[in-house]
């Protein structure tokens, strides 16, 4: 047993970079998937819509902790290879991000009036160009505040990676707490670090929302 020192504080801070790595992985892989899901959900094909709805309901009907365990123990079963916690957590966070961002972006796309698609079609634009140049810029504006809001959920969600032994901020907190026997102090500092990372995003999301409402 030893007392909480500056070195412990620094180890918490350096663990924050792994939290950031998880967020980047989730966005890099989950973002494109989310766009695909949002387009499937708003497409004319009933089959595509139902596949997307099924995926979203399934992922959103299971705790993030369950997703983590599912992929952590499931990948060896499916693929026959052991995988590192980073890969397992990365896949789970990607699936989680895709489902929630997919729904947020679908909302943005649906908020654009249907006549806009028709007007773009009248101009002779192809389906993808209608989306890319007419719908997406408007949908992006609507979806930006909740997307920033979801980032906060994502940062908080990475704390669950601690449970499969991935050393990010929350896990580092557990390790330091176990070494110093000062759980209250350590977890308060961990909470403060998360708070400092998330609050600016929350405030940003709120100001974006206010600006969007003002513009309407």
């Amino acid at each position: 047993m030893r007392s909480f020192s500056l070195a412990d504080f620094l180890s918490l801070f350096s663990a924050l970079q792994w939290t950031a790595v998880l967020v980047v992985i989730a966005l890099a892989f989950g973002g494109p998937l989310a766009l695909g899901l949002a387009l499937m959900r708003t497409s004319a094909s009933r089959a595509l819509r139902w596949i997307a709805i099924g995926f979203l309901q399934l992922v959103q009907g299971v705790p993030l902790l369950g997703l983590l365990m599912f992929f952590y123990f499931g990948m060896p079963v499916f693929l026959g290879v052991e995988i590192s916690p980073l890969v397992a957590v990365g896949i789970a966070m990607t699936v989680y991000t895709a489902s929630f961002l997919g729904e947020i972006w679908r909302g943005g796309i649906e908020a654009v009036k249907h006549e806009q698609w028709e007007a773009a079609a009248c101009l002779g634009l192809s389906g993808w160009h209608q989306f890319r140049y007419v719908i997406a810029p408007q949908a992006f504006r609507m979806a930006l505040p909740p997307t920033v809001g979801f980032l906060v959920q994502l940062i908080k969600g990475t704390s669950l990676a601690s449970i499969v032994g991935f050393v990010e901020l929350a896990r580092a907190g557990q390790l330091v707490s176990a070494a110093t026997f000062q759980p209250l102090l350590v977890y308060s500092i961990v909470a403060a670090i998360y708070f400092a990372a998330c609050l600016p995003l929350t405030l940003w999301a709120r100001s974006l929302e206010a600006r969007l409402n003002g513009a309407r």
Binding site: V62, G66, K156, G157, A170, S177, L184, A191, F195
Partner: protein, 222 residues
């Protein structure tokens, strides 16, 4: 490629049912605590003195910008420090109640703000008492507009109770860990656990949709 084997899990039916019931109980207790906090805090934010309003804003932002898992740890380690002895389940109920309360405060506040002030003034002009204005003019449309956000937050709470397993409160996810250590069928165990959560979520979604339809004619068809 490993082979799947769900056979051994049958023996643990009783534990699974018990875990499911504990999860439901934890969800309901946290929802009741949280709703009480939400309604009180949202009314205080509207009409309370300034320090109270600041305190509530601080509470809401603190909870919304820190992970639930860390909140559980903090509550679990704080309360004994104040001489409050309690088991993991009670600590989890308090932590999750505080968590749900923060989101509930925002939801209720938004619901109350959706009622135009002119309607309240119109009610007062008719000679209605403060309570009557609240009961007949503010409450029905506020409940209606709050309902969808409240139900989706409730589902997130139900899923969020899984975190209580990390302070060893004996709910469904904790049951998963228990069975896992006895059978070593990790994947099968968590697949079944996920399946139960999914079933619970679907049941609640259908239930909320039915109640919303009967009570509020929700969703409104445009």
């Amino acid at each position: 490629m490993q082979t799947l084997n769900f056979q051994q899990l049958w023996r643990y039916q009783d534990q699974l049912i018990d875990g499911t019931l504990h999860t439901l109980l934890l969800t309901l207790v946290a929802a009741v605590i949280g709703t009480a906090i939400g309604v009180t805090a949202a009314s205080a934010v509207r009409s309370g003195p300034r320090p109270v309003r600041w305190a509530i804003r601080g509470y809401v932002e603190l909870i919304r910008n820190t992970p639930s898992l860390i909140q559980l740890f903090v509550v679990f380690f704080v309360l004994p420090g104040f001489g409050l002895r309690m088991d993991a389940f009670e600590a989890a109920a308090i932590a999750l109640g505080l968590y749900f309360g923060a989101y509930c405060t925002e939801i209720v506040r938004a619901g109350l703000e959706s009622i135009p002030g002119s309607q309240v003034e119109a009610g007062q002009c008719l000679g209605l008492s403060r309570w009557q204005v609240f009961r007949h003019i503010v409450l029905p449309p506020a409940l209606r507009s709050v309902y969808p956000a409240f139900t989706s937050q409730f589902v997130l709470l139900l899923l969020g109770t899984s975190l209580a397993s990390q302070i060893s409160a004996e709910e469904l996810f904790h049951t998963g860990g228990f069975i896992e250590t006895r059978t070593y069928r990790s994947f099968e165990v968590y697949a079944v656990i996920c399946g139960i959560y999914f079933a619970l979520v679907m049941i609640f979604k259908l239930l909320f949709a039915a109640v919303g339809h009967l009570a509020f004619r929700w969703p409104v068809r445009r």
